[in-house]
């Protein structure tokens, strides 16, 4: 390759990489959330407030309470592995169709005074019912 051509490519690539780098950096700093399971969230809350986090866990037996007026649900989320670790969850919004006792859920929101206020509630599902399978392997 001719020398000036090589520098054209080099300069454009560096510019491109710098732009991408900047976009990634600002994207990461604005859109990061903690991905935690229940035990990790409890451990972390002791040292610092949990302002933005995504939690994974299972809906504990006999804890689902639906409000009399409007949408939403409150329940206790337990750690998928260690059932003794639990967090109280408050959620206002549309409860997914597959939400039930024992379902694995993903919630996003913030935690204050050991109550987690969820902005979104998703149940794991759209693929297959392989829960039995997973517990067997675990």
């Amino acid at each position: 390759m001719k020398k000036n051509l090589r520098s054209v490519y080099l300069v454009s690539f560096v510019l491109f990489a710098a732009a991408i780098g900047y976009m990634i950096f600002s994207g990461v700093s604005q859109n990061s959330v903690y991905f935690l399971n229940v035990s990790e969230a409890l451990a972390q809350e002791k040292t610092q407030p949990l302002l933005s986090a995504r939690l994974f866990g299972t809906v504990a037996d006999g804890t689902i309470v639906r409000p009399e007026d409007g949408l939403g649900v409150s329940f206790t989320l337990e750690d998928a592995e260690n059932k003794a670790q639990t967090i109280q969850v408050q959620y206002k919004g549309v409860v997914p169709d597959t939400f039930d006792v024992g379902s694995e859920v993903i919630i996003e929101g913030s935690m204050q005074n050991s109550v987690f206020t969820a902005k979104t509630l998703m149940t794991k599902c759209p693929s297959k019912y392989q829960k039995e399978n997973r517990e067997k392997n675990a």
């Binding site: 051509l5 990634i24 604005q30 903690y34 392989q130 829960k131």
Partner: protein, 638 residues
């Protein structure tokens, strides 16, 4: 029966391992090739997989619940169509289906004349990669992921298929992806084979030999991804077609690599350059399909799509790492025959830039999806990225791609513009569209404004290009693919940022305004599906526009399936429109028996499906044109 099927899989594993070893031995002792024997072995493997798959199909057809897989994914009430397609409803079955796609592609390619024209050495190298791939599938299917596990005594009924999967969109989405993955394996193996073979240079290059396979694999992958989005939009009531979920992201990685490889392919085909990049990215397309499967099946990153891990995770990860190392080693060894690139302001430069941006997107998606795992390196608690990250990084890059391909047709291969006036016309149309969107459609945000205008300019550019070329059939499919991509981009630019959504509780006869629509709850119904598969509750909505003119009646349902009585499922209802599409999901009844509904308006969303459909069909035109040219050549010779 099942034991026999399991034996067949064991047999194919054995043949694949022996085949791999045989290839290594014969490559070491050059000039003692026994390609004929290896090809027969390949046919034997194909036969094994076909029979094993038939046995599984038969198990579903005949309600054979003694097969654990059949028991897990079907039941007595499931209609025949869904029973047969439950074949790929689970992990073991979908891996078997992938392997089946792969061997069928392999058997087809082996039967082509162009394959037979390749040298013995190249074919042996090809079979080496191909057999080792099959050996890996054999290990997966006979150990952790056997679809032929037996339950004894056989249960009287199965567990049934997840109602969300009982939808045509979901039935065709996975096999399309798997067919695409399987298809890309053939060119990848041949590319690596020619990189190593000494006969390379005297025979037809791999990307010409396998061009129909590459195109068909690409269009199937495209169709699979688009169909997945459509399914998420129509069936899941997630209120969108794309959520940047790990599983969705995973399926796009091979697509971006594959598309980049195809663009390197144009540089190689027309300019005889970039051979090593081309080979590298075709091989990585194939490897990234396994990487995607690892992301999906290995329980690596928590996702809304739940899968059992089933122990395949480590196997897949090891395979991906080993394959990547081998691919890079081959590329390193491969002689560099290409001449240097011309300047950036040429067709070559733009093709290269397009490929680089595609690869960048793929890498960013891959790393961002793995961010919860990567961030563990420096923090105790893993950190993940929200959808906002992808929207702020990937969408601008996709806009850059549209911009590159808007102007690319007007550049010459060697230097600068080839059609100055047309180029200026396209630039002008871009500015005009920007003005129109700004003034008439009130699009004020920069990214949607630029994306929408450049997409429209892109459509004009490629239509004009086709006219300048005097409408050759062979060029029709790239023209259509790029125009339909621009159509999809236009759909994304509007349906993403300008979606309106609200949740409401409506009493009978009550009316409410959503965006420019007025919605009135006419009636609530209860009933049972004719086949008895589910009971439903239906909200009948009258939708009118601002002037009170009827737009349509929307019938959103909640269903309770007989096999899954514990949950109700929403069946969303839409009123089709090429402009603003009205979308209703029935969420349930509140205490005062008001219907709780999620009502949303999606502008231009249907252009995504229209663009996606054209994009997935257009490559067939090239395949057809190639076939016709081949027949004509034959007739001339005769």
């Amino acid at each position: 029966m099942t034991h026999f099927a399991h034996l067949l899989l064991m047999l194919s594993l054995t043949i694949a391992v022996l085949g791999t070893l045989f290839c290594i031995v014969s490559l070491n002792k050059a000039k003692t090739y026994a390609v004929g024997l290896l090809e027969k072995a390949n046919l034997a493997i194909t036969l094994c997989y076909v029979i094993a798959s038939c046995i599984l199909f038969f198990g579903f057809w005949s309600y054979d619940f003694s097969i654990k897989y059949v028991h897990d994914y079907s039941d007595l009430s499931l209609p025949l169509f869904y029973r047969l397609t439950a074949f790929w409803g689970g992990q073991a079955g979908s891996l078997l289906f992938w392997a089946l796609c792969l061997v069928l592609c392999g058997a087809y390619f082996q039967s082509t004349e162009i394959y037979k024209s390749l040298s013995q050495e190249t074919r042996t190298w090809y079979l080496l990669f191909y057999f080792s791939m099959l050996a890996f599938f054999g290990v997966l299917l006979t150990t952790y992921n056997s679809p032929f596990e037996v339950i004894s005594p056989a249960p009287s009924n199965g567990r049934g298929l997840n109602p969300l999967l009982q939808n045509p969109g979901m039935i065709f989405h996975p096999p399309l992806l798997l067919l695409g993955y399987g298809g890309f394996t053939i060119p990848a193996c041949l590319a690596l084979a020619q990189a190593l073979s000494k006969e390379n240079g005297s025979e037809t290059p791999w990307h010409i030999c396998t061009k129909p396979i590459i195109l068909v694999a690409w269009l199937l992958l495209t169709a699979g991804i688009v169909l997945g989005g459509w399914w998420a939009y129509m069936e899941l009531g997630w209120g969108g077609y794309w959520a940047w979920d790990p599983v969705e992201n995973a399926s796009t990685i091979p697509w971006f690599f594959g598309t980049a490889a195809i663009h390197f392919g144009f540089i190689e085909q027309y300019r005889n350059k970039a051979q090593r990049f081309h080979t590298l990215f075709m091989a990585l397309t194939c490897v990234s399909a396994f990487f995607a499967t690892w992301l999906v099946r290995g329980n690596v990153v928590e996702s809304v799509h739940a899968f059992g891990s089933g122990g395949v995770g480590y196997l897949l990860l090891n395979f991906v790492i080993a394959a990547t190392v081998i691919v890079f080693a081959v590329i390193f060894y491969m002689p560099n025959k290409g001449t240097p690139f011309n300047g950036l302001e040429t067709k070559e430069g733009f093709l290269l830039a397009t490929a680089v941006v595609l690869i960048t997107i793929s890498l960013i998606i891959g790393f961002a999806t793995l961010w919860p795992v990567i961030s563990k390196l420096w923090t105790e608690n893993s950190v993940g990225l929200q959808a906002g990250f992808y929207n702020s990084v990937i969408l601008p890059l996709l806009t850059v791609i549209i911009a590159l391909l808007t102007f690319c047709p007007w550049l010459s291969w060697k230097q600068g513009l080839s059609h100055g006036r047309h180029f200026l016309g396209v630039v002008l149309s871009f500015l005009v569209f920007m003005g129109v969107f700004w003034a008439l459609f009130d699009v004020k945000e920069p990214l949607p404004l630029i994306a929408a205008s450049i997409s429209c300019a892109c459509m004009i550019s490629w239509a004009l290009y086709f006219a300048v070329l005097k409408y050759p059939l062979a060029k029709l499919s790239p023209v259509l693919v790029h125009i339909s991509l621009a159509v999809m981009a236009l759909g994304v630019a509007f349906s993403g940022p300008y979606k309106v959504e609200q949740e409401v509780a409506l009493a009978r006869g009550q009316e409410i305004a959503v965006d420019s629509f007025k919605v009135k709850l006419l009636e609530l119904y209860e009933g049972r599906d004719r086949t008895g598969r589910y009971d439903f509750l239906e909200a009948e909505l009258l939708v009118t526009d601002k002037n009170g003119k009827e737009v349509g009646i929307s019938q959103a349902q909640r269903r309770i399936y007989a096999s899954f009585p514990q949950n109700a499922y929403a069946e969303a209802s839409t009123i089709f429109s090429l402009g603003k599409e009205f979308y209703a999901t029935f969420l349930g009844l509140d205490e005062q028996t008001r219907a709780v509904l999620r009502l949303s308006v999606h502008p231009l969303v249907n252009w995504l499906w229209i663009g996606g459909t054209i994009m997935s069909l257009a490559p067939f035109i090239t395949v057809y044109a190639m076939r016709r040219r081949k027949l004509e050549n034959k007739q001339e010779k005769a």
